[in-house]
């Protein structure tokens, strides 16, 4: 893509990006009938120029180009450095082909190991997101609508404090708690509820719990922000009209908080699906998570193009999921980003 003849093009890219954002600022859509100041009048010309240039550079160098490089790399063969750019460096689907058909460890015609890991990851991440929602919704509702401000601050502190410990340490802490001689098994044995320790790690229970816990804050904050903006009088009005509590949640609060729910669920889903630390630390010997496989493509097999292909597959899955959620919830992208 960026061969030696393409070099002038790379200098044009930032200019192009700036031009695009400039045009967007100039012709931003305005609600009809509303006279609003233009982007430049609102921010002042110097600030407006700074914003446009900064956003252009940010989106170009941090988002667009790296992804483009990844995608481009995923279509290349694995070659020793000497041969890169040589006659063998042709675009190919072999990395994607490998995901479905290839395998180095078995003679199966289809790469069941990776495919299974992929779908299991997607499915488990979905469950983690849903479970997280079920867990966080009551708490978020309590904080946003019921609790007094002082209590809310205290709860927020309790929620945030564990995240001062870094993610890997937290995962190890979970491993210790869930191990066969760990706290939970000790309690279960001590109470006589089980006569043998439960293998939480081998059953991936520790993994799901760890993943759920790792991204709980994302869910809490998404839900809390959404529910907090609901006027409390609406809840009272529904109650006054005779609604039982579940009806109020199902038909007043949840529809109102839908964008927050969608954003919380998609965030947790994507973070879980892309999580590396928790599967590595909490995964049992038999557990199959897609990200460690992906990681191995890069750093065990030293097959960067293949890793890139796997990463791109995961990215596509995540983006499709977000689009699906938006579609199902009849939401626009702008609404969940609020």
């Amino acid at each position: 893509m960026l061969s030696s003849t393409g070099h002038p093009f790379i200098f044009l890219l930032p200019v192009l990006a700036i031009a695009i954002f400039w045009v967007m600022a100039k012709f931003e859509p305005k609600p009809v009938g509303v006279t609003k100041k233009s982007f430049f009048e609102r921010n002042g010309t110097p600030v407006a120029i700074y914003l446009i240039v900064a956003v252009a550079f940010w989106s170009l160098f941090m988002i667009v180009l790296p992804q483009l490089f990844m995608v481009e790399m995923s279509f290349r063969p694995k070659l020793p450095p000497i041969e890169m750019g040589g006659p063998k460096d042709l675009y190919t689907f072999e990395n994607y082909h490998y995901f479905i058909y290839g395998s180095t460890t078995s003679s199966d015609a289809i790469n069941w190991v990776h495919i299974k890991a992929f779908f299991l990851t997607i499915f488990a991440s979905l469950l983690v997101a849903l479970f997280n929602f079920a867990l966080c919704y009551p708490l978020a509702f309590y904080m946003a609508q019921v609790a007094r401000p002082a209590r809310v601050r205290f709860l927020l502190l309790l929620l945030i404090a564990p995240y001062w410990v870094n993610e890997i340490l937290r995962a190890f802490a979970f491993r210790i708690i869930f191990s066969s001689g760990g706290l939970i098994n000790k309690i279960l044995l001590g109470m006589g509820w089980v006569d043998q320790p439960i293998d939480f790690i081998g059953n991936d229970i520790a993994l799901y719990a760890g993943l759920g816990y790792a991204y709980m804050l994302m869910m809490i904050f998404s839900l809390y922000n959404a529910i907090e903006t609901l006027d409390h009088a609406q809840i009272e009005a529904a109650r006054d009209l005779g609604a039982p509590w579940w009806h109020i949640h199902a038909f007043i609060v949840i529809p109102f908080a839908k964008p927050g729910i969608a954003s919380g669920c998609t965030l947790v889903f994507m973070l879980s699906a892309g999580s590396l630390a928790a599967p590595l630390v909490l995964g049992g010997p038999r557990s199959l998570w897609f990200t460690p496989i992906l990681y191995d493509r890069f750093f065990q097999a030293f097959n960067w193009p293949q890793g890139a292909a796997y990463a791109f597959i995961l990215l596509l899955a995540c983006v499709s999921f977000v689009l699906l959620v938006l579609r199902l919830g009849r939401l626009s992208l702008g609404e969940i980003a609020k």
Binding site: D231, A233, Q234, A238, R239, L241, G242, A243, I252, F256
Partner: protein, 354 residues
Amino acid sequence: MTAAVEIDHLTVQFGLFTAVKDVSLQIRQGEFFSFLGPSGCGKTTILRAISGFQDPTQGVIRIGGQDMSGIGPNQRPTALIFQNLALFPLMTVSENIGYGLRVRGVPKADRDRKVDELLNLIALSDQGHKKIEELSGGQKQRVAIARALAVEPKVLLLDEPLSALDLKLRQHMRNELRAIQRRVGVTFIYITHDQGEALTMSDRIAVMNRGKIEQVGNGRDVYEHPQTSFVASFVGENNGFTGTITKISGDQAEIETSVGRLVGLNKKSLPVGTKATLFIRPEAMQFGAQGENNLSGTAADAAYEGMTTHLTMKAHDGSSIVATLTGAPAREFPSQGSSVSFAFATRDALILPA
């Protein structure tokens, strides 16, 4: 006949602060009853206690003779119209109105019929499909009323529902509300801090101050026969002169004030030496003529409003005295700063404990 709503020695405290103090009232079936009082006097708190959102610290509320203690807002035969209406923004007009019926499991066909009926009542027949945000302020108002009426409450509670509207619309909605109330015959309990609103709409008014009821009566009662200084000065415009009672003769008393000795009716039979305030309405004040009581000072302002003119005089002690005149004398009002005099009849002046 049992009262529609009976408030029996109601007290509501928030921590150490007492928002409602020992209020007792009976509101009749089909009555348009208003609570009138300044901001923060406890009106909303009383309404919330009636609707069940606020537990009384002491006292009992009975609706249709039945004790409401321990009965939640969703079980009471009341419907509340919130200060900000609290319509459901994600539902259409029809869905809003039908919400209470849906909650009660009314079949869709019956529900639709009832909603249509109510849309008719509020003159929004063909607008049921609209979103709430597409309505004007007055239309939202009417939807809120229809939504509350849909559940056929015995008592409709309205918390300053017109305060967000502009003056013209407010006046229009007053008539509309009153007309709806007459048509459906439901007991309305209405809260406002606007005395004009209370006077024009209500069958009876309870004037409140600092958590207490000062007076209950119809509009003429509270306007013409105020029982306390607070009612006299809060309901309508009034000139008040505070001083000490110096002489009593029959049903009249003389009071020594900073603008001179004035005589008024002493309906409360206050004894000599009591600190009291004499109230005289601006429209009972005469300009130019000499009378039983005379006040003098300098002309300060003449606010001409067409049918009436409000003349303000600065008395010798610096206080402002207002006279409202209708018709001709207004045009002869002297220029600012020149000396003028007002007069009033003793039978128009009321002496109340300060």
